[in-house]
Symmetry: C2
Subunit: 559 residues, 2 copies
């Protein structure tokens, strides 16, 4: 079998200036990073958006059933769909997340699609790319250093060292840094306290970069970050520490969207990549707007399954940015549905129509959920060579019984040509203006009621529960003026419930809110339900052990 | 007074492709990073070096007297000299260090020269530049994560957790991370132990990148890093952990030299920036070779004063890379000599000829020291408007009494035109082949004798001393095959001695070796003499508080 990297290397990419030119971006708005990556100047994008209408292009969200070890191919389908829309004469721009560097050295491969449906250059994108995540790491950690420095030099703001909530970040899977005691070693090193590191994609700075409208909005949001509390629980912000300006300076390049291309030479903005559990999990608002101002159709993506990713895309990103999506694609595979139907990964090769039928309840529930937001959905069956006709028929049947078309796609093997039927179906949904989008809940609901609403309507739980201390914390934030914020539930991506083993479409469960965190700059309140890891570890045999440069200087072992 | 940043912004830079073209670099070897920065492809540089002679251009080192708060202007003089050499018809290329990001938010401004003698674009260079330091941070911390991960999953290599010597790094001034306890919080987070962070420029990975001849040499050196010891004190290397390949992949872009330009449009490679105390303090060997293959003259720079920077340039970089420098410029200012003569910074404005005479002993000793390496030296008096003629005359007198010309330079105010006499003098030293370079000591000397040789011959101490435990450690490394390595003494930059208050030209002091560290990949043994800070802190009022973007999106407060 030809590997993704071999396919990618067999394609001659277009110079990025040509990709930009085809989009109508003038040369002086293109800042090249090597030959095949560029940042696009914000001032040109803003002026162009004013001229052409920043909400011009139809907005298509690609989401998926709950992820399984079998793989669903959400990014692959996003790329294939965009290539297919372009192939069928519809000017389409992708808006996707940038992958995180750290996990590449653990177990996962790249996050740039697969087969003939990839964005490129995959080595660059999966590693340092244009340095955005490094800039976010630096801005985040500058704020952390300024907090401890402020305390060290006299603590004029009277920060309670027991109530510093701003941790540090690294873009690395490093379990040893999850919990640390810092500032030991004597007077010169400050006041000892417990602390720790998260991975960079979990940083609120990442979420802020992705939700900001422009530089000024980003600087304001950075200033709003609550980093600590005083002894009487008054919040201390990054603005109080005068860190917001320097953080914005560190992010001034990172906020410009990155332009790359698909293997078929179509334009793709890859920009930002927040976690889809403790953050909202989609690419930047700036990239989405840029894509809409430049294309007639925009294909974008949300993290994990639709219960986490699509819900947050709607309730956080679309709410904040005033975006109104036109259509949703729910990606499913026969293999993943089989796993939802109880089949072990080792047994996926054998036909099992009944297992597909059992697992299809997961797909059906996501179809129903999307409908709650008023956006029409289509199912993309991402074809795998072991899929039988009978198995595929079951998926068609389950989807159409719930009012959604299911379309078999072969973009992995064939590129855009393998997804033209999906492109036609998506374009039809968009062009008939079938959408009537509204978020799930209103701003005025209490924070806990918002959490409970998501738990009941999306996760189909009986209800959410929280300890009195958590409820009291939510109440204090409401009193402090944060009650209007949307909520961001962090739970396992593998199940509708907070138990990763409950596949399919569980009901009757309870959603326990273990902890809540305020992301005042990003503009949401995180509710942590179950064990959520914000700093991954490396596996017993990390992928890093096999990664190296070959004799020609090409990377091997990364994908 | 016009600020450095105002001067820099008043100059229209040439597109970097034009700068490269003027050097004879073909377009397909130029990888642009924005409009005014580029990385140059290694394979082209290597092929060009083979054709043209990688040792072609004359190599001029710019060093200085011991630094004082008055400032000496070493980078400014390097830039001014290169511009002056170009102005006088000599094809000249600069090879300088990249500045560190972290300290920009503390007290120091940029590190790109000053006045009319600057490299540009200064905002980019002083912040993320082309991402090299972020890549070094990532490679360093991947190795750290793989060490703790290996221990966590069973410790097959039997690493003694008390003897892990590889710390982590961040490019940030953050005293809270100097000493930490990591891996607390339970079984899933590994084995608790003490550890800490250094600033990225202190990383051995930085030193390795700067001393490597090419990718393969870098990967070999990365593998040689000693990260820990077993209970019976056998060294464990990065190669044992299979981390070397992935680290090289992370550094594959960073190892390519960065091309920028001076404000007069002349080419400058800025590449790498190791500390000049616990590392060797000069730009990469690759950049120096590239500059020599492309220019008739190369101006390069070493860190701190000549006692630290020049000694390490000669004894570590030139020794390892087989470089043979042709001339040395020792930068001095009247103000700094006055401080060496006992004048406080506040009183520097008043003429004080006797203070200059007293302080000139510092300059004289550096002249004598450079002569020990067989390289001819010239003194550059970096002019400041308060300098009196009588004061300047004293510097001329002191230098010529010790066989070196001193030349007054006005490149800060006038650019290259202000340093043409210096250019003529330097070119004459080069063209008459006056140099007969040799390192200070041979490879075969014992490690402690090497330390003692530097202490006596360069620092003019009575001798070096070390505890028996330190001597025993050196002996163990000699037994393990590391005895041939040069030594890298880390002491205060402010004095020839290890006491920062002893200015001028102290004698009779003792150099105490507090601790020794093996940098087996970089290829030297560090001897720490006195208190050396490898992770700076922020001051009471960090520069970061005033750094922000103005209404036009330009950075203010950084310089």
């Amino acid at each position: 079998m030809t590997t993704d990297i071999a396919i990618a290397r067999s394609v001659a990419l277009r110079p990025i200036a040509r990709v930009a030119d085809a989009l109508g971006i003038p040369d002086d708005a293109v800042e090249p990073y090597g030959r095949f990556k560029a940042k696009i100047a914000l001032d040109w994008l803003e002026a162009h958006g004013r001229r052409e209408g920043a909400q011009r292009g139809r907005l298509v969200l690609v989401t998926a059933i709950n992820p399984t070890p079998a793989g669903e191919g959400k990014t692959t389908t996003s790329v294939g769909l965009a290539d297919a829309l372009n192939l069928t004469g519809r000017k389409t721009v992708l808006a996707l997340r940038e992958p995180s560097l750290g996990p590449c050295f653990g177990t996962k491969g790249g996050a740039t699609g697969g087969g003939r449906a990839q964005v490129a250059p995959m080595e660059d994108i999966n590693l340092h790319f244009t340095g955005d995540f490094h800039a976010i790491t630096a801005a985040h950690n500058l704020l952390a250093a300024m907090i401890d420095n402020h305390i060290h030099w006299g603590n004029a703001l009277q920060i309670d060292v027991r109530r510093v909530v701003w941790r540090r970040v690294l873009d690395m899977n490093d379990r040893a840094l999850r919990d640390i005691v810092q500032s030991i070693g004597g007077v010169a090193n400050g006041y000892p306290r417990e602390s720790g590191f998260d991975i960079t994609v979990a940083s609120e700075v990442m979420a802020i970069l992705c939700l900001s409208e422009n530089l000024a909005d980003m600087e304001r949001r950075l200033g709003d970050i609550v980093v600590a509390y005083t002894r009487d629980r008054s919040p201390i912000t990054a603005r109080d520490l005068k860190a917001d300006g320097a953080m914005a300076v560190l992010l001034a390049e990172a906020i410009k969207p990155n332009l790359v291309q698909t293997l078929e030479g179509n334009p793709a903005f890859l920009h930002g990549g927040p976690f889809a559990n403790i953050a909202h999990g989609c690419n930047s608002v700036i990239a989405t707007r840029a894509a809409r101002a430049l294309g007639d159709y925009v294909v974008t993506e949300a993290g994990f399954g639709a219960d986490l990713g699509a819900e947050k895309f709607f309730d956080i990103k679309c709410r904040q940015a005033g975006l109104s999506p036109d259509a949703v694609v729910i990606v499913a595979t026969v293999r993943a549905l089989k796993m939802n139907g109880g089949v072990a990964k080792a047994d996926l090769g054998a036909e099992d129509v009944e297992a597909v039928r059992r697992g299809a309840v997961n797909l059906v529930r996501h179809i129903e959920n999307i409908r709650q937001f008023g956006v029409p959905a289509v199912v993309a069956i991402n074809h795998f060579h072991t899929d039988s006709e009978a198995e595929i028929a079951v998926v068609h049947e389950a989807a159409s019984a719930h009012g959604a078309r299911a379309i078999l796609c072969r973009h992995w093997a064939e590129g855009g040509a393998g997804a033209t039927k999906l492109a036609d179906a998506v374009a039809e949904l968009c062009d008939t203006h079938a959408a009537n989008f509204a978020p799930l809940y209103g701003d005025e609901l209490s924070l806990f009621d918002k959490i409970d609403t998501v738990a009941r309507h999306i996760y189909r739980a009986e209800h959410a529960v929280a300890e009195p201390s958590v409820l009291a914390q939510l109440k204090r934030w409401e009193d402090a003026g944060y009650g209007h914020l949307p909520v961001c539930l962090a739970k396992t991506q593998y199940s509708f419930s907070s138990d990763p083993a409950l596949l399919g479409a569980p009901t009757g469960h309870i959603v326990p809110v273990r902890e809540v965190r305020l992301a005042a700059g990003a503009g949401f309140v995180v509710a942590i339900c179950g064990e959520i890891m914000t700093m991954p570890g490396l596996p017993r045999v990390p992928a890093a052990e096999a990664i190296r440069l070959d004799a020609d200087g090409l990377i091997e072992g990364l994908f």
